[in-house]
């Protein structure tokens, strides 16, 4: 539950998930922790959105999943970026940069 933390849009969530998988494969719990960390506790992923997003990304072929063993010897499903996923990440990063620049311009000139 987000209190005074920001809500996330679906497309943005996809971007964040892809980004968080950029360096190494991870399981769902790990992904949500990583996003929290990377945003310095400003963003919390609602679990209700996380798994549907993961499955959608998998169906679209940008991430793939594999059962493996986690750091504390638990069974977990690990997700990793595919080649097209990496490309998609780059594309989305560019779009986001453009979008935020545009919004900043508008706000700056408001």
């Amino acid at each position: 539950m987000a209190n005074n933390k920001a809500d996330l849009l679906q497309g943005t969530l996809d971007l964040l998930i892809l980004k968080s998988l950029q360096n190494e494969p991870m399981h769902g719990f790990g992904i949500s922790l990583r996003i929290q960390q990377m945003s310095k506790e400003m963003l919390t992923v609602e679990q209700g959105s996380l798994y549907p997003a993961l499955y959608r990304l998998e169906d679209q072929g940008w991430i793939k999943s594999e059962w493996g063993v986690s750091e504390n010897n638990r069974k977990a499903k690990f997700y990793s970026l595919t080649t097209s996923g990496r490309k998609q990440l780059a594309t989305e990063e560019q779009s986001w940069a453009k979008l935020s620049t545009a919004i900043n311009l508008v706000l700056g000139n408001a």
Binding site: F29, Q47, Y51, R56, G61, R74, K75, A76
Partner: protein, 863 residues
């Protein structure tokens, strides 16, 4: 990519679900562990994790939705549910499926008939460019006449508008195949005929130019049917001789299997060549042509008119006043009346389908109201109303789909059946078949029926009031009652319209049937033969032998019997003083008849005398006129001794007798002017024998054949039928239409009755409790029944009222085709309205009686 994967995921649901559950469980554990590491105890950690995670069940559902085609999975589930529902109430389901199957089957069958005959283009190349050409003579009031062969030849030579222009005759052919002489349908045609109709020759060749010039008596092309049935598809049949009408013909080819509009023809021979010493004034061929692609109708018409004018100048004796016109071949092959009749039948059966649909909707609505509690609970638990609607529709669609599939099968069988029947001369009957369009129609009809039937109950489910639904003893909302009542009124209206239309058609048909024809058709047998050159002698000998048979009252010959398809007409000019000038004429039907004709047909001889054997070539020309012609030419004056000039040439005939009028073509039309010539002077190619017997006419048929065979074993006798049959055939299309419509109307009434019965029974059952209370409180049975009665009457009144309006409208539309009966015929309307009122009363009576007899205690406990 994603769509495909999501579709495939449908099939791996269980595995995916298991994995998903596993994954989330592990997530929760990891979260709980973290919480423990942060200092909570085991239980707290777990609860905190759960809270943080959210509603596992709904998340799993949302996750599942994200990865599959939710709607498809739902549809499959709904369908399975629907199937289970069907099995649970077998009687209801069976009735529903049968009603739907019958309606869709009938509608699809009729659609395939309409599609094959009216909608599909004719089976020939570029049918929209093909026309039939008629000659006309406006001065004599002739708008449509056969063409003179000599004129045709000149058109063919001089005209530039036509890709093909062909002429043909359809003579009767006596052919000897094996032991028995047979009559085969023949086309004698010119060279352009085959390319015009797109006919091909599959073995051998078509006649060549020289053979066309030589004309009759040379070569013949046989049909595929003849080749297979009589020559065992033997390719060496080329060069064999076939005796046709006494003359040997060499078989030069076999026509391709598909003859299109010429289906049924067996022999193709060249029409007599141009060198024939032909009479330009003899109009006896049919002409068809295909316009050149770069020529439009107007140009071709103008050219034809100009050519005709040219010929009229060159040959004033024969061509003066004659011109030509043409019309699209589709209009001549499938005349507008037939098209109208077919569309009417299709409309009627569609109405029946609508009635069945409405019936089903009403029944489903009742069933839905019984499930109010179920719907209320589901909505209360968070199930979307949209989902409910979809489920109701899916359940209905299962039943309708089954009905539709069965109906489709019924239609396929019916179409097969129809092709086998000889459908009373319905044009293009041989082409009736199923094709893609019919299949699409069947599917569309099924879907539309399903949607229509499901709409009412689906929306009833969607609008369920949760609070009311959850209460004990939920009664049906008034809105649902209103819905059912509306459906019922609609059904009644449709049934009234169908019944009224059926009654109208039936009245029209019986009027026609009872029309005074001018002759007596019972116990008369007719038979045709084509004696050829041996003509007169043979026929006269045969007549003598037949006359000698026991039980024969009278025997005569004519060129065409009344109500037979052969028609001859001519224009008659008066000679001398008359009510019209001698330059004007009356268009008449005419016949060549022998001495006993009027006696055999029981046509009254009003004045003068009939023909005798003495009226032959040596005697002066004589004629007999009918009353209508006499009146048109000479009013009330005595026509005996006056002269007429048939055809406007120089052949005058003296009137020796006047006979009564005869309706010989269309019983619905007033009798036409007619005149008769003596068969002892004129012999026609094909003669019809008319025999009156003192017992059943058909008994004479074998004897007729025997006597003919004794005289000439090579002469076939054909078209042997009683005059009653001929009359019946003429009326057949109308009779069949009326019969079919009556069947549809009866079915609609039965459906309406069951629907009404169900509705009233249901209304009674629902108000049981209320009824019980009121009875217990002292109300009389009548007080309780009255509101029920009032409701039923209101519905019936509304339905029948609208139906009446609809029936009147339909009657107006049919005005042109109803003969002898006004479109506002009160009898038909009364029958329709009265029947449905009675039906409504009967249907409502029983449940109401039950309601009145109920024991209040039982009613109170009824739940």
């Amino acid at each position: 990519m994603i769509l495909l994967r999501q579709f495939l995921n449908l099939f791996r649901r269980r595995k995916l679900d298991a994995e998903m559950a596993e994954e989330m469980r592990l997530h929760l554990e990891m979260q709980a562990e973290r919480n423990r590491a942060a200092g909570m105890n085991t239980d707290e950690a777990r609860y905190a994790a759960l809270r943080q995670f959210g509603n596992v069940a709904s998340m799993q559902e949302r996750a599942r939705d994200a990865r599959t085609w939710r709607w498809l999975a739902d549809a499959v589930t709904d369908a399975r549910l629907g199937l289970r529902l069907l099995v649970k109430e077998p009687l209801f389901s069976l009735l529903g499926i049968v009603a739907i199957a019958g309606s869709i089957g009938a509608t699809t069958t009729l659609f395939s008939v309409v599609n094959s005959i009216v909608m599909r283009p004719l089976p020939m190349p570029e049918p929209e460019r093909v026309v039939q050409v008629w000659e006309k003579n406006p001065g004599r009031g002739i708008t449509q006449f056969s063409v003179s062969f000599m004129n045709f030849l000149d058109w063919h030579r001089r005209s530039t508008s036509w890709a093909q222009l062909a002429a043909a005759e359809f003579p009767a052919s006596n052919v000897i195949l094996g032991n028995e002489p047979e009559r085969l349908r023949t086309v004698a045609h010119t060279r352009d005929w085959f390319p015009l109709f797109g006919l091909r020759v599959q073995v051998g060749r078509a006649p060549d130019e020289a053979e066309f010039q030589k004309g009759v008596g040379g070569v013949v092309v046989i049909s595929d049917r003849l080749w297979r049935t009589r020559f065992a598809a033997d390719r060496s049949v080329m060069g064999r001789a076939l005796v046709v009408n006494g003359a040997p013909h060499t078989i030069v080819g076999v026509a391709g299997p598909d003859l299109g509009v010429l289906d049924g023809m067996d022999l193709f021979v060249p029409l007599r060549g141009g060198g024939r010493n032909a009479d330009r004034g003899a109009h006896d061929v049919d002409v068809y042509g295909r316009l050149r692609p770069d020529v439009d109708r107007g140009t071709a018409e103008a050219e034809l008119a100009a050519l005709a004018a040219q010929l009229a100048r060159e040959f004033p004796e024969s061509n003066d006043g004659w011109s030509a016109r043409f019309e699209p071949i589709f209009d001549t092959l499938v005349p507008p009346e037939i098209r109208r009749g077919l569309w009417l039948l299709l409309g009627a059966v569609a109405v029946l389908l609508l009635v069945a649909c409405t019936n089903l909707a009403g029944l489903l609505l009742a069933r839905a109201s019984a499930r109010t509690r179920e719907f209320a609970v589901r909505v209360a638990l968070g199930g979307g109303r949209g989902r409910l609607v979809r489920q109701m529709m899916a359940e209905t669609m299962v039943m309708v789909a089954l009905g539709g599939a069965l109906g489709g099968w019924l239609a396929a069988s019916s179409v097969q059946l129809l092709r086998g029947l000889d459908l009373l001369g319905l044009p293009r009957a041989n082409e009736i078949s199923l094709d893609g369009r019919v299949l699409a129609f069947a599917v569309l009809a099924t879907v539309a029926t399903g949607v229509a039937a499901a709409l009412a109950p689906a929306f009833a489910a969607a609008r369920v009031n949760v609070q009311h639904g959850l209460k004990d003893g939920a009664a049906a909302g008034t809105s649902r009652q209103r819905g059912r009542q509306l459906l019922m009124a609609g059904q009644l209206a449709l049934a009234v319209v169908l019944l009224a239309t059926a009654a109208l058609l039936f009245r029209s048909f019986s009027r026609l049937q009872s029309t005074e024809l001018g002759f007596q058709a019972n116990r008369v047998l007719t038979a045709r033969l084509a004696p050829g050159d041996r003509g007169r002698a043979l026929v006269e000998q045969w007549i003598e032998r037949v006359r000698a048979l026991p039980s024969v009252e009278a025997v005569a010959v004519t060129n065409s019997a009344p109500m037979a398809p052969q028609n001859t007409s001519n224009s008659v000019f008066p000679v001398g003083a008359a009510r019209i000038p001698t330059t004007e004429s009356v268009q008449c039907e005419w016949r060549v008849v022998s001495e006993d004709f009027f006696h055999a047909m029981r046509i009254p001889l009003l004045k003068g005398r009939s023909f005798t054997r003495a009226d032959n070539e040596q005697a002066p020309r004589v004629a007999i006129v009918n009353q209508t012609l006499a009146r048109q030419l000479w009013g009330d004056e005595d026509p005996i001794g006056r002269q007429i000039n048939p055809g406007g040439g120089k052949t005058y005939s003296t009137v020796i007798g006047v006979v009564g009028d005869v309706r010989s073509r269309n019983p619905g039309q007033p009798p036409a002017p007619q005149f008769y010539l003596s068969a002892h002077r004129w012999v026609w190619n094909t003669m019809t024998l008319v025999v009156r017997s003192d017992r059943a006419a058909n008994d004479l048929a074998p004897a007729l054949r025997t006597e003919l065979r004794a005289l000439d074993p090579t002469m076939p006798l054909f078209d042997v039928r009683t005059l009653d049959e001929s009359v019946g055939l003429t009326l057949a299309p109308r009779r069949v239409s009326a019969q079919l419509l009556i069947v549809f109307a009866v079915l609609a009434v039965v459906l309406t009755m069951t629907g009404l019965f169900a509705m009233v029974a249901h209304a009674v059952a629902q108000r049981m409790r209320e009824v019980g209370i009121r009875l217990a409180l002292g109300a009389s049975p009548r007080d309780v029944a009255l509101p029920l009665l009032r409701d039923t009457l209101r519905v019936t009144g509304a339905g029948v009222g609208f139906g009446l309006v609809g029936a009147v409208l339909v009657g107006q539309m049919l005005r042109g085709t109803l003969e002898g009966v006004s479109s506002l015929d009160p009898f038909s309307l009364l029958v329709a309205v009265g029947t449905l009122f009675l039906v409504a009363l009967a249907a409502g009576y029983w449940p109401m009686r039950r309601a009145l007899r109920v024991d209040p205690l039982v009613a109170l406990r009824a739940e």
